[in-house]
Amino acid sequence: MIRFDRVGLGYRGPTGHVAGPEVLHELSFKIPEGVFRWLLGPSGAGKTSLLRLMYLAIRPTSGHLSVLGVDVGKARRQALPGLRRRIGVVFQDFRLLPHLSVYDNVALPLRLAGRPEGQIRADVTEILGWVGLTKKAGERPAALSGGEQQRVAIARAVVARPALLLADEPTGNLDESQAERLMLLFQELNRVGTTIVVATHNDALVSRHSAPALRLERGRIVDAP
């Protein structure tokens, strides 16, 4: 499902060459299909970079990475958009499109996948109801609170029922009851077969919902199930 084999990552400079030290070193681990994994580690350990590799925002500079059975290093560039559509991502900074309404932001992955508008309306209405934002469907993200924006980002990540769901600090702007509700959604998606990786600092949440964890420190895996 997801396989890291001695994967290293260094960010490239403007010339295209790797500039500066590697941020991830020799990562080797597997995440089987349909499991739930916490991704833990102190700030600056490389959690966000690791997630970026998994959602194909960057390619590794060394080693082999395969996501949803596709070897990312060998795949042709044209094959990646289809792969990205099978991955849902909740970004730490939400990354909503400011000029689109809540409804259109959530509908975006379905429209990119070419789904019919009737189905899109049903799916978006359902997920907005689930995250409690039905009344805000016509609002722009700027008119929402941080917690509401995070719920829009979550709705957008799960609306297309991805095979792999990656979340970077998804509870950072949620209160405890909303965070619990989000965990219920993740468990529900996991139960129907979605592979889920959640990076978090929320120790209380991790202790309440025990699951195997990948631990990163200074760009290296120190503990993997």
Partner: protein, 311 residues
């Protein structure tokens, strides 16, 4: 808002603008620049057509002709008892290389001289030669021998072949047409550069939105199509505006040029639109289409090249 109103708003708009390009590629600068290019292209095209038509006119009118001037035409010829002009005409008619020889009447001579001597040229006191327009059956005829024979019957007769001038004018016309072609290509290249710069500015302004949509699985083709649709529309609007702005200028030039190209002048033909060569009526509507094509292709190429910086 009513329940129905809210539902309607939730439907996808016909022209859904995911990337917010209406604000990134604005309808101000780009159409204006493309309109200026289309205006220049229209003038250049008109120049090209005008030169082509003048060159054709000259060639048709004088391609195989000679002008023979006979001074003191009414004086008796050196032999044969007739006057000089009659003898020269007889000699020309009897020459197999000559297809037609026609002595210009006083009115026709007056027409020729009017630009220099005014409308009273036929009453001038100057001793005017008779002028014979000769059309050659064989353009390779030995003109030197013909000239010697003409001088024999009417000394002082001058013969002027036009072909050297036609060759020079044709070379000039071809050079002017080549310049017009280069100017057209330059205008197209500048239009393309303007659209590329505007597209790059749009890419920079919408970088974050593009990265988000790209991350959600949009293909290069999908993103490039959004930009290309917008650039095509703006370039077509600019092209149309430029062509429309050039129309009155071209009509004015065409009615000025009409007397030289054989088309009736504006005084006798009040239909101004008919003065414009028909090829320009075809070329002008092509300008917005050409601008739209340049807009589409430039935006596609620029966006696709830029997207290759993303994984």
């Amino acid at each position: 808002m009513t329940r129905l109103g809210r539902r309607t708003r939730l439907l996808r708009p016909a022209r859904f603008d995911e990337l917010g390009l209406k604000r990134a590629l604005t309808a101000r600068m780009l159409p204006f620049m493309v309109a200026a290019m289309a205006f220049l292209a229209a003038l250049t095209l008109a120049g090209w057509v005008g030169v082509a038509s003048l060159a054709r006119h000259w060639q048709e009118g004088a391609g195989t002709s000679l002008t023979v001037q006979v001074p003191e035409p009414r004086n008796p010829a050196s032999q044969g008892g007739e006057n000089r002009i009659r003898r020269v005409l007889d000699l020309l008619s009897g020459t197999p290389e000559v297809a037609d020889a026609h002595a210009l009447s006083d009115d026709e001579l007056g027409d020729l001289l009017r630009p220099w001597l005014g409308t009273g040229s036929e009453r001038t006191a100057l001793p005017l030669p008779a002028v014979i327009a000769v059309r050659l059956a064989n353009p390779d005829a030995d003109l030197a021998a013909l000239g010697r024979r003409l001088d024999g019957v009417a000394p002082g007769t001058l013969m002027e072949a036009h072909d050297i001038w036609i060759r020079r004018l044709s070379a000039l016309a071809r050079s002017l047409q080549a310049c017009a072609g280069i100017a057209l290509l330059t205008v197209a290249a500048v239009a393309s550069a303007v659209i590329a710069v505007a597209t790059r500015a749009g890419l920079a302004a919408r970088r974050e939105a593009i990265e988000i949509v790209h991350g959600l699985g949009a293909t290069d083709g999908y993103i490039a199509a959004q930009f290309a649709r917008r650039a095509t529309l703006l370039a077509a609007v600019g092209g149309l505006a430029g062509a429309l702005a050039a129309l009155p200028v071209l009509l004015g030039l065409a009615s000025l040029a009409a007397p030289f190209t054989g088309v009736q002048s504006q005084e006798t033909n009040p239909d101004v639109l008919a003065a414009l060569p028909s090829i320009l009526w075809v070329a002008l509507p092509i300008l917005p289409v050409a601008a739209a094509c340049i807009g589409f292709l430039t935006a596609q190429a620029t966006v696709r090249r830029w997207l290759h910086t993303l994984p």
